[in-house]
């Protein structure tokens, strides 16, 4: 159970390590979500994204999120890593791994984690697109 905000790339290897970190012998399911920079957004051709966090508060909110998941599903094996800084197309902005006894719970909790992260965690992104840029 850990959270991290990092300016280092979240490589496939890092995703692998994050997923492995939540596995326990009691688990039958591991669900991993990668939020990735895609090359388009509302009709614009995206070049890159710049992520900014209010780091202390974001870490606090991510820990609250883990606590919410623990209360709601009894799941403690959750890891969330969010990247900040400038990200290129195809790079991972966030990885969330959830392990649980049963798959239904793991899917639900993982999806909740990313939905909730977007609601309560003070992180912002500026889109650099062809012909301009803007906070989204």
């Amino acid at each position: 159970m850990f959270i991290e905000i990092t300016d280092r790339p979240i490589t496939p290897e890092r995703t692998m390590d994050v997923s492995s970190s939540v596995r326990r012998d009691a688990h039958g399911a591991v669900v991993t979500f990668n939020g990735v920079i895609r090359d388009h957004s509302e009709g614009r051709k995206v070049i890159s994204m710049e992520y900014e966090a209010f780091r202390e508060m974001a870490e606090k909110k991510l820990r609250e999120l883990l606590e919410e998941i623990k209360v709601r599903w009894g799941i403690e094996d959750v890891a969330i890593v969010h990247r900040v800084g400038k990200l290129e197309i195809g790079e991972t902005a966030v990885v969330i791994a959830v392990a649980a006894s049963h798959r239904k719970t793991a899917f639900e909790a993982c999806q909740y984690a990313i939905d909730r992260l977007k609601q309560i965690v003070p992180i912002w992104k500026k889109e650099v697109f062809e012909g301009g840029e803007g906070w989204v």
Partner: protein, 81 residues
């Protein structure tokens, strides 16, 4: 009394700074500070209206009274993930 104001994302860019120390009167509320900032930096106006306020890293209502040393953050709508 002295407080610290933090600005993020669009607000930070519009203000051309992420952090300002300010001297304010005791009894000032978060909402009062918002109004004061709008006057001081009119170009923040609309973006300040849609910002949430956090005091010392905790979500705060606009009615909360600030204390000396408080760190007041203005948070545009989040877009993480």
């Amino acid at each position: 009394m002295r407080i610290k104001v933090k600005l993020f994302a669009r607000l930070r860019e519009l203000a051309a700074t992420g952090e300002v120390d300010m001297d304010v009167s005791p009894g000032l509320t978060a909402g009062g500070l918002t109004a004061m900032l709008k006057e001081k930096l009119p170009r923040l106006g609309k973006s300040l209206d849609s910002a949430a306020v956090a005091v010392n890293g905790e979500n705060a209502q606009s009615g909360v009274t600030l204390k000396a040393g408080d760190e007041v953050a203005f948070l545009p709508p989040f877009s993480g993930g």
